[in-house]
């Protein structure tokens, strides 16, 4: 579904990404992990075409650079780490923005666009909030509303930058379970950056570990989340054990490094 070869991004004098290659299969959930400043968010932005980059990105079988922004927006939906939510806009109007790639430049949305938006809100249990202003929502509701906008885009792949930042434990779980459920029912491809390694290992089918703009490791969570790799690249002292379902659980060890 998505594949990148030799992806490099230079911002100012710094190589934020340097020759990263990876593959995301259709319906797969790939977690991008790595220490602060490793280039995780930049990777998503490069995929979305928001930053100038070298290297090749294929969406399906087509090179991404041959696509017009509107065409790309029908294939990839993107939610940034801290989405700008216009406080006075209603939840419905905000979610409707996801239909933008289907609406002519100066045109207006069709009945179909409103129906898609309405059914997405219904799926995410947001129907009751449709008329509320976005600025009045709680953190968990906001995250669901952002997700609703991305889903209204009806793109086969979702790029989510830290979808659980600023959420408490229960709301983190709620959002991740929601993404997981949508992925299974709709066959969506999901790429998320996640700073919590245990969570990343729990939900993702495979992980991509970035450090200093390079891919340090990639593959199944159990192969990437090892004491050796995490210790080296995060400069942390950790203990990693298999959890109840066999997926790795990362513990900090007190007193190190």
């Amino acid at each position: 579904m998505i594949s990148a070869h030799g992806l490099s991004v230079r911002l100012g004098e710094r190589d934020v990404l340097d020759g990263v290659s990876f593959e995301v299969r259709q319906g797969e959930w790939v977690g991008v992990i790595g220490p602060n400043g490793a280039g995780k968010s930049t990777l998503l932005k490069a995929l979305m075409g928001l930053v100038a980059h070298r290297g090749e990105i294929l969406l399906g079988s087509r090179p991404s650079r041959e696509l017009k922004p509107r065409q790309r927006a029908r294939l990839l939906a993107y939610a940034p780490q801290t989405p700008a939510l216009p406080p006075d806009m209603t939840v419905f109007d905000y979610a409707l923005l996801g239909r933008t790639p289907y609406i002519p430049y100066l045109g207006r949305e069709s009945r179909h666009d409103r129906e898609v938006t309405g059914s997405v809100l219904e799926r995410l249990d947001l129907t009751a909030l449709a008329g509320r202003r976005v600025g009045e929502l709680s953190g968990g509701e906001r995250q669901r509303v952002v997700l609703a906008r991305a889903l209204a885009q009806e793109a086969p792949a979702l790029l989510l930058d830290e979808p659980t930042t600023a959420l408490d434990l229960g709301h983190q779980q709620q959002v991740l379970e929601l993404v997981d459920r949508l992925r299974r029912t709709d066959g969506l491809t999901v790429v998320t950056t996640l700073h919590d390694l245990t969570v990343a290992g729990l939900y993702a089918d495979s992980l991509l570990l970035l450090t200093g703009g390079r891919a340090a490791a990639a593959g199944e969570p159990a192969r990437v989340l090892t004491e050796e790799l995490v210790g080296r690249h995060f400069d942390a002292h950790v203990k990693i054990e298999p959890g109840p379902d066999g997926r790795p659980v990362v513990h900090l060890v007190r007193g190190g490094p």
Binding site: K45, M48, G49, L50, K68, P69, R70, Q71, R72, A73, R74, L76, A77, Y78, P80, P83, A84, L85, P86, P87, D88, M89, T90, V91, F92, D93, Y94, L96, L97, G98, T100, P101, I103, Y105, L106, R108, E109, R111, R114, E115, T117, G118, S119, L121, E122, T127, A130, G131, R133, G135, E136, Q153
Partner: protein, 344 residues
């Protein structure tokens, strides 16, 4: 069904309400000052002016003349100018994602002020030179700020654009102050122009109308695009929208509106900032409703402000810009308090 009862379905109702308010304001403004004309006669007279309709309002020809030659163009100019300024303000606020943006943010006011001052000082005998000069000055000020902002910062970015506007405003205002010192005897004319005037008659109205129409249509068409821009450039781009191009189009249209308004009526402050905010508080934040309601609401606001300006110390007149600020500021505070939200 949920999808069809979407929240934005209430829009036509708001527009109708606003139009009623505007109509009442205009009738009230036509009445203002004349004690022996009844509101009903004014309504009949207005209906009579409509093409293909003939109604006898019972007004004497002198009274009809007064209404037609003096009051009506004045009310219409106030409506057009108020609508343009409020809508341009909303456009600027959308483009800059800054609630404090006003139509004069990018140096339109300073450019127009300088050019009008130059026209008053250098071409005192040329009739009609002030609006032309003010229009060119406003356009020039915006152009200067935009060019400066784009060469100093990232193309299409907003922060440097605002800073460039501040720099251009200071610079042009300094020149304007310098120029006016040469002709101290023209100071009063310069200041009365700066404080605004909508009493220029039918000529003034026909002068502003084409620009008003073009900029209003352009801005109203971009309402949905401004909604998309309100989530930020990156997200707008991820939705397939060319953010820099949308911003340029809206800036062009809003600047044209501002220049046209400034050219016929001077620098009338506060309309461009107070009206869009009141609209937002009442009808929500989507630009698809904020732009049309600002157009109508700004028109009503300036019509009423002009009514106050010419009645409160009659037969003398207050400059309309003084009224918009004097009435506008407390009114704004009152609306902010009344519509205070639980979480802000």
């Amino acid at each position: 069904m949920v999808t069809q009862a979407g929240p934005s379905r209430a829009r036509p109702l708001w527009v109708v309400c606003a139009l009623v308010v505007l109509a009442v304001s205009m009738i009230a403004a036509l009445l203002g000052g004349a004690a022996d004309i009844s509101p009903w006669q004014v309504v009949l007279q207005v209906v009579d002016w409509l093409p293909l309709v003939h109604v006898d309002s019972g007004l004497a020809p002198v009274e009809q003349g007064l209404l037609y030659e003096l009051r009506l163009p004045r009310v219409l100019v106030a409506a057009v100018v108020g609508g343009l300024l409020a809508m341009a303000g909303a456009g600027y606020q959308g483009v800059f994602r800054n609630p404090l943006a006003d139509p004069y943010l990018l140096g339109a006011a300073a450019g127009a002020g300088l050019a009008a001052t130059a026209a008053i000082v250098l071409l005192p005998s040329v009739a009609g030179s002030i609006p032309v000069a003010a229009f060119l000055g406003a356009v020039g000020g915006v152009f200067l700020a935009y060019t400066l902002g784009n060469t100093a910062g990232r193309a299409g970015g907003t922060a440097t654009l605002v800073l460039a506007g501040v720099a251009v405003t200071s610079f042009l205002t300094a020149i304007q102050t310098f120029v006016q010192q040469f002709k101290v005897e023209e100071l009063q004319r310069i200041y009365s122009w700066i404080l605004g005037d909508v009493g220029g008659g039918w000529d003034q109205f026909w002068l502003v109308l084409p620009y008003a129409a073009v900029s209003a249509v352009l801005l109203l068409l971009h309402g949905r695009m401004l909604d998309v821009l309100s989530v930020g450039d990156e997200e707008a781009t991820s939705l397939g929208v060319p953010a820099a191009r949308v911003r340029l189009m809206v800036l062009l249209a809003a600047s044209l509106a501002t220049a046209a308004a400034v050219a016929v009526s001077g620098l009338i402050g506060f309309v461009g900032i107070v009206v869009p905010h009141v609209v937002r508080r009442i009808a929500g934040g989507s630009y698809r409703i904020v732009l049309p309601l600002s157009l109508i609401g700004g028109a009503a606001f300036l019509v009423l402000a002009d009514l106050v300006a010419r009645t409160v110390i009659a037969p003398a007149e207050l400059p309309i810009g003084v009224v918009t600020m004097f009435v506008g500021a407390p009114f704004f505070v009152a609306v902010l308090r009344m519509t205070r939200r639980a979480s802000t």
